[in-house]
Amino acid sequence: MEKRFVYADNAATTAPYPEVIDEMMIYLRENWGNPSSIHKKGEEAKAALDMCREKVASLLGCEASELVFTSCGTEADNHAIRGAAYANAAKGKHIITTKVEHPAVLNTCKALEKEGFRVTYLDVDSEGRVSAEDVERAICDDTVLVSVMYANNEIGTIMPIKEIAAVCRAHGVLCMTDAVQAVGAVPINVRELGVDMLTASGHKIHAPKGIGLLYIKKGTKIKNLIEGGGQERGRRGGTENLPYIAAFAKALEIAVAKLPDMARVEKMRDRLIAELTKLPRTRVNGSLTHRLPGNANISFECIEGESILLLMDMAGICCSTGSACSSNSLDPSHVLLAIGLPHEVAHGSVRITLSHENTEEDVDYIIEKLTETVERLRKMSPLWKE
């Protein structure tokens, strides 16, 4: 096939949609007031902010007053976990999470451990899932918070959050879910889901980087992370970033409207997985049934992920890897290790994440180039035997 450019790293970030950028520009060029000002410019901004919040609330199935806009998904995760832990410290100091969370959650929990909280990091099964029963078994008298991600950013595994939330409710424990990878990719109604807190991030759904969201169910008391001038109903200080909030609202609106097209993305993903796993000593990581529509995570034995990525990049394809060599750490991805992959297999893993913008031709091209790359590197590998 003719050389083309294929962006297939949509779990890392997505290209902002032109409509989203246009929407955002309105709040940079014209409606740039401070929503807290009482003059005309401020009122204009306040009206727009309220409208955006209403829009996001109706798309997520909650009330506008239950939403806090943050500077990113990481801040929302920190806010939810620290806020819930501190607010309930008198009641108990035990938190339950999983071994496969994003660092925004894992490292927040680790920091809380240093402050005297106790954290249980649940094992996952070979597909990367925990069950509601696993969560229930881990609940103790002093458990105050359960934080389980909705969908994994590396292997795309979707967790049974509704069931987990029900268990938490029955035990009077707060339930938080990091839904950064799930919002916009699968249908989500927070009320039906039954969680107390949920986080999302703009740049995973074709809005810019630097905007996140925290849903806090009415009546849930959590401590603030950022004190300031009383914005966000006193829950997060800082003049509201209206251009980015407007971009986020627009992007979410588009994402929800495009949910039916995820069936097409899912088909492309399935074709990728089916074709690539025809190669010898190759496996797919994660679940085939509980999986984000765009995620394909594949391990190729006897070769190393960074080398694969570099050759793919030369061919015009952007994707990512769970190999240690692509990071500053000596260990491969904590997620791949948690599902039981040996180190040497985890080093040879590649994550391809598709979006609405990808086409069948992209998929053909990825299959062709990745197959070539794998064969080429295996020829060079001292571990490979025909």
Binding site: S326, N328, H343, L383
Partner: protein, 142 residues
């Protein structure tokens, strides 16, 4: 992230392959850490007349192996033993700090292959700076 030289040696590695009945073969690193280098030397009258390598590893691992083979080809065994990881890094116009260990591995691969050559030929010579036990001194601790 990488210099043009590194990318050139990664994209077009020199001396990839194996040598049958090699005078010396060395293998360093381990799969768990994500890099293994295997080096094959053909030595005649104390001169490395041919060298080939196979590497499992990242871009820097491939590039340092390739550069190291180029730097020792046609040299005497003693000259090859004098090859330092620093020289390999310099020849590649530098490596990111996290990748320096790849150049150490390349130096060790050469030494390990020469050690094998010495052993096969009953030559009792010490190789300075080579412990021969990569599992104990490697960069990764598992």
């Amino acid at each position: 992230m990488y210099s043009e030289k590194v990318m050139d040696h990664f994209a077009n590695p020199r001396n990839v392959g194996e040598i049958e009945n090699a005078s010396g073969v060395g293998e360093v690193g381990n799969a768990k850490c994500g890099d293994i280098m295997k080096m094959f030397l053909k030595i005649e009258d104390g001169v490395i007349v041919d060298v080939k390598f196979k590497t499992f590893g990242c871009g820097a691992a491939v590039a340092t192996s390739s550069m190291a083979t180029e730097m020792i080809k046609g040299k005497t065994v003693d000259e090859a033993l004098a090859l330092t990881n620093k020289a390999v890094v310099e020849a590649l116009d530098g490596l990111p700090p996290a990748k320096i260990h790849c150049s150490v591995l390349a130096e060790e691969a050469v030494k390990s292959a020469v050690a094998d050559y010495y052993k096969k030929n009953g030559i009792e010579k010490e190789i300075p700076g080579f412990c021969g036990d990569c599992d104990s001194c490697s960069h990764c601790h598992h």
